[in-house]
Amino acid sequence: MRFRQRFYLGEVLIGLGITAAHFFANLGRHTARHVFRSKRARGAVTFQYPEERRPYSPRLRSLHRLVRREDGSPRCVACMMCETVCPAHCIYIVAAEHPNPEIEKYPERFDIDLGKCVFCGYCVEACPEDAIRMDTGILEFSSYSRRGMIYAKETLLALEPAGPDGNPRSPIPIPADRVPSP
């Protein structure tokens, strides 16, 4: 410590000056926001989460969705690439014969156990048909049971990609067993 610092007082006053400057600057911004209805003044760098979401990056890996064909059926051809590459073994596919002879197979079942998923994104990279993506922007999936963390084909097919601001456009899928708080 330098001689000046050994007395604390000067350094303490400098520190108090910094925090007091933050206090008054932010207080002014809060006043502008609440009293003068200024839209631009933000007295805080934080987000009021449930009401206000921070913009997500477009690269964010969020809840999976299955891409649809024009007729609404899954684009997936049940090639098992994603199931094979998945390091967490969280994808379970049951393949079935597709009625259209030009398409070989389709997934009769396509379950993702989100309780196991590590969100590595390998399934998206491995897919030769661009049939699975992780761009819904949905991060709030929770359940009171392990069973509820397993998302089935129908749920995943219904999801929409996130909007341009990264926020989800489709409602957050709520598992059937996720009862409202007890």
Binding site: L16, I18, T19, N26, H30, V45, T46
Partner: protein
């Protein structure tokens, strides 16, 4: 008969004002602590508690806290000393609460033929009383540490005792300078003395304690912050290592310890105001109205003057509370040995030096 009743009523009113002021300030400080720290740190702060959708910037959070603490389990450790364990938070809180009684919040109020000093109790050694009550508060903390039958609590209690002693010595010694300058231990007299102008060409400055005793002001404030046991001197609590003397407390008993800390903050703010910031004095306001040093006067009614004085006192105490909060949310904690060194090798010798220098100056002043 009716005269006695009126006296009783007046006494009750004086006590009630101080009590309500201190308790409300203490409760409000829990909100101020959250909001001020948030604004200082570019955050929003607690704002979720609402009544019928009305949030009022989180003003309901103290209420929600109180309800939460009252409905929580009142836990008693198996080997704890039941009576001491229950008594400790009471001692802590009551000593902090009654300390404010000797601090005047206004000059004498004349109602008809009566003269009511605006102070909960009129004491001719008010300073010593506040000082004594603040020191007694440490008994609650030590009792809590001892009665909990928990080594961490005991360690916290011992740390609290060591810290309080090193802080109280410095507080007492730094107050001595003020008492010497104004020649009294009565807080009312000290505040009246602070209304007088300074000497010579500085006569436009009122002789507040911060002007006549600047070193004592700094020493008193530092030791006072230490006496409140809050950051940067929260080593009795040490929340990141030992939790401290109230580690076994839950529910409202813990709430009382927390409340005692906030009330002590208000008391230190009140004492600083009374001793160094002119108490209820408004600059240039005499008993009959304003009289400015450049000759202008503005006569005011007695009641207006008293109201202004009480408002000035409340404002000064609030500002001091704000400043103490600023300190609390700016500085990191002192290590135990650093706090001891600061108290015994820094504050105490300096306050003794302050007393000696003040004595010499006063002697030279009054000699001719």
């Amino acid at each position: 008969m009716s005269a006695t009743l009126t006296d009783l009523g007046i006494a009750f009113g004086r006590v009630a004002f101080v009590m309500l002021f201190v308790l409300n300030m203490g409760g409000l400080l829990t909100w101020v602590e959250r909001k001020q720290s948030a604004v200082m740190q570019d955050r929003i702060g607690a704002n979720r508690a609402s009544i019928f959708g009305l949030r009022l910037f989180g003003l309901f959070h103290p209420l929600a806290d109180a309800i939460k603490m009252l409905t929580k389990e009142d836990f008693l450790p198996a080997r704890a000393d039941r009576s001491l364990f229950t008594l400790a938070p009471l001692v802590s809180l009551v000593c902090a609460l009654v300390a404010f009684a000797a601090i005047p919040f206004g000059d004498v109020l004349r109602v008809g033929a009566r003269e009511v000093p605006l102070q909960a109790v009129t004491l001719n050694a008010g300073i010593l009383y506040v000082f004594a009550m603040l020191s007694l508060g440490v008994y609650g903390v030590m009792m809590a540490g001892w009665a909990s039958a928990n080594n961490y609590a005991l360690l916290g209690g011992q740390r609290a005792a060591a810290l309080m002693i090193s802080a109280e010595v410095a507080i007492g010694a730094s107050i001595m300078g003020v008492a010497m300058v104004y020649g009294s231990l009565d807080m009312m007299e000290i505040i009246r003395g602070q209304g007088r102008p300074l000497f010579g060409w500085l006569a436009w400055i009122p002789a507040w304690g911060i002007v006549t005793q600047p070193l004592a002001f700094i020493l008193f404030l530092t030791a006072g912050i230490a006496a409140t046991k809050r950051i940067p001197f929260d080593l009795p609590e040490g929340e990141s290592e030992i939790i401290g003397y109230f580690v076994e407390y839950s529910g409202m008993k813990f709430g009382m310890f927390m409340m005692a800390d906030f009330v002590e903050t208000v008391v230190i703010a009140g004492m600083t105001t009374a001793l160094f910031l002119g108490g209820w004095q408004v600059p240039y306001l005499a008993a009959d109205g304003f009289s400015f040093p450049w000759g202008a006067t503005a006569p005011l009614a007695h009641l207006t003057v008293v109201t202004l004085q009480v408002l000035a006192f409340c404002l000064k105490v609030s500002l001091m509370c704000w400043f103490l909060m600023l300190v609390r949310w700016t500085l990191p904690r002192f290590r135990y040995d650093q706090a001891m060194r600061l108290g015994w090798l820094g504050l105490f010798p300096l306050s003794i030096l302050n007393v000696a220098v003040t004595g010499l100056v006063l002697l030279a002043w009054r000699a001719p």
